[in-house]
Amino acid sequence: MLNYFARRLLTMILTLVVISVLVFVIIQLPPGDYLSTYIAELESQGEMVDKDKIEFLRQQYGLDKTPVEQYFHWVAGLVQGDLGYSFEHSLPVSEVVGDRLLLSMVLNFSTILFIYIVSFPIGVYSATHQYSWGDHGLTLLGFLGLATPNFLLALILLYLANIWFGTSIGALMSDEYIGQPWSWGKALSVLEHLAVPVIVIGTSGTAGMIRRLRANLLDELQKQYVTTGRAKGLPPGRLLVKYPLRMALNPFVADIGNMLPQVVSGSVIVSAVMSLPTTGPMLLRALQSQDMFLAGSFLIFLALLTVVGMFLSDLLLAALDPRIRLSGGMRR
């Protein structure tokens, strides 16, 4: 197990390094650095450019150095928790983001939880009642869930809420808590408001999970040991839970690797559409104004969320399934 843990940790760190290089390249992609655009913009408006500030920023980011040095400078800052400097807001990134990172994590985590909690009973039901009306209905629903892109679903819900209740549902907490320090009341309010975005983001993931669990469980149920068990007179509930369900559960847990990037992607765009106070809308704004350091920090954060999530789920899976930790191989 320790061996597996070490190897998995190493791969995770390597992945993160590659990702950081990738994100850095993306930050550097727009022609010219942000400062030159900034100066040009100010000058076109006939404003004086504060030479000292420019010089300060140039040094802060080592924009006069080679790209490789700049990269190490940037990464060193990241590791120490210095997320960089937002040019648009003229503030350090860490001050701009506030508790958005935390809310993003809460949102994504709740969505994953929602997907598992909802898809598990439905998947088991569909498999044990194959070709029943309930199964057909749920399959159809699942297909629709898979085909409706989540940001369109968010738009539809916003529209319906606007017509029926005349209110906007695009918020993560009641107004009185915005900008307030965390308290029980605020946490509860966030939980209440989470429901709609979680359902919107989780729909397609849930549909996919149901299909997968159903297929896995059906495969298991057709095996001979199940027939043997039934012939020996095991009660149906025990016959289902004791072995087939446990076998079908492994791929179900392992699939978080496919699901996590999808959920994070979904949460970004749904947050942008519903203007939730998570990283989504801010990432979008940063990208639109080519405030690349802010955007880069968000990208790194989102990637970190996925990679660490997958790492944890892999450890969980290894604890569940001795085959994985003994062979030491990566899953998939």
């Binding site: 791969t11 390597l14 992945t15 590659v18 990702i19 990738l22 994100v23 993306i26 992609l29 727009p30 022609p31 297909f143 898979l146 085909a147 409706t148 892109p149 940001f151 369109l152 738009l155 539809i156 916003l158 529209y159 606007n162 017509i163 906007s168 695009g170 690797g257 990037p261 999808q262 994070v264 992607s265 979904g266 970004v268 765009i269 942008a272 559409v273 990432l283 979008l284 990208l287 639109q288 080519q290 690349m292 955007a295 968000f298 990208l299 989102l302 990637a303 996925t306 990679v307 997958m310």
Partner: protein, 384 residues
């Protein structure tokens, strides 16, 4: 058991090969090529066939967009801003008139400052077919003004209403299909080529090539796609022309989409390269490109096509999402996502719900590709 069995001898001439001869149906079945059998299998899948026909029709319509729709992409009808959809009627006062629409009666609600359009049942505006109307440039090649349908002389024909500039939504929707549908097709072609080349190299050569490709795939797949797409398309230079941006976006979509396909190709090739016919080809001096392309890939081309079909929707959706967020295509290029940007303002949508219409073709296309892909995947293995 004393009594002997009844003896029977058939007087028919005996043909030794009779037992091995095939009935015409069997012969047709056994002699059919793989692709023909797949076609038979696919034909049985009613949903897939329907989806295929819908897709074929939409892709055909791309070619003749200008001719099919009543209005040109940018025609502004300034008297009809945010006009609601006009319904097509057949009977007026119990009399058959053929397809027609009623004109609008317009007044400004001074209390809410809302534009109010009502059906004016005294204005009967018969729809004209094969007529001359809005002038357009066919694919930017030559000018024409011949349309399949046009509004009545001096009348209007807004089947899906108009937007904030008084442009006909229905026409713009069909124009948008030209961009949205081709983005998916070009994107998948690019990612198909990338996937086959990279996956092929990894599977055929194995060793360190395989290892490197595997790691890259792992990294790419552990990244949330959409934020990366957003970042890459935000990094496209602002100075690029719309056409360049269009190709840039397709390239970006393809750049992140190939790992799935590459992985499929790799795992198949790893098994197939040990086959005897592959060694034979190698001994005869065939180059790796020839062996992969000529001997190995055709083995599972059908599977690849099926999985490619299944990944077109994600591209179309990605383009829609990017354009919707304002990071993808920009006007004057008009895709469904660009049309949906009008729906970003939820207050406007509450008043003018037809702004959400571009969703419908998006969902239909996505569903159709999914059904067709499912059918193709089932048909890809006609021998089981």
């Amino acid at each position: 058991m004393s009594d002997t069995l009844q003896h029977f001898v058939s007087r028919e001439p005996f043909d030794i090969q009779d037992i091995e001869r095939l009935t015409p149906e069997q012969e047709r079945y056994y002699m059919a090529s793989q692709w023909r059998m797949m076609w038979w299998r696919l034909k049985k899948h009613k949903l897939a066939v329907t989806a295929g026909i819908i897709l074929l029709a939409s892709y055909l319509s791309i070619v003749f967009v200008e001719f099919l729709v009543p209005y040109e992409l940018q025609t502004r009808n300034t008297d009809f801003i945010y006009a609601p959809p006009q319904q097509v009627h057949l009977f007026h006062d119990g009399e058959f008139v053929g397809p027609f629409v009623y004109g609008y009666r317009y007044h400004l609600n001074m209390e809410h400052l809302k534009r109010v359009y009502e059906e004016d049942t005294s204005k009967v505006q018969p729809i004209r077919f094969f007529c001359t109307g809005d002038p357009y440039e066919f694919w930017g090649l030559f000018e024409a003004d011949f349309h399949l349908i046009c509004p009545a002389e001096g009348g209007t024909l807004f089947l899906l209403g108009t937007d904030r500039l008084g442009r006909d939504m229905a026409s713009r929707l069909v124009y948008g299909g030209r961009i949205s549908l081709t983005v998916g097709l070009i994107g998948i072609t690019l990612s198909f080529m990338l996937g086959i080349t990279i996956g092929g190299a990894a599977g055929y050569f194995g060793g360190w090539v395989d290892n490197a490709v595997q790691r890259v795939i792992e990294v790419l797949r552990s990244l949330p796609e959409l934020p990366l797409w957003m970042a890459l398309s935000a990094a496209l230079p602002v100075t690029w022309s719309p056409i360049l941006v269009y190709f840039g976006i397709t390239l970006i979509l393809a750049l992140l989409d190939w790992p799935g396909l590459a992985r499929a190709v790799r795992s198949k090739l790893l098994a197939l390269r040990e086959e005897d016919y592959c060694s034979a080809a190698r001994l005869m001096g065939a180059s790796p490109t020839r062996i992969i392309g000529r001997h190995l890939l055709p083995n599972f081309m059908s599977h690849l096509i099926a999985s490619a079909t299944l990944s077109v929707p994600s591209m179309i959706l990605a383009e829609t999402a990017l354009s919707f967020l304002g990071l993808g295509l920009r006007p004057p290029v008009t895709s469904w996502g660009v049309l949906l940007t009008e729906a970003q303002n939820i207050e406007a949508v509450a008043l003018y719900p037809w702004l959400l219409m571009p969703m419908v073709p998006v969902i239909i296309t996505v569903l159709a590709f999914n059904f067709l892909g499912d059918g193709l995947r089932d048909a890809a293995d006609p021998y089981d």
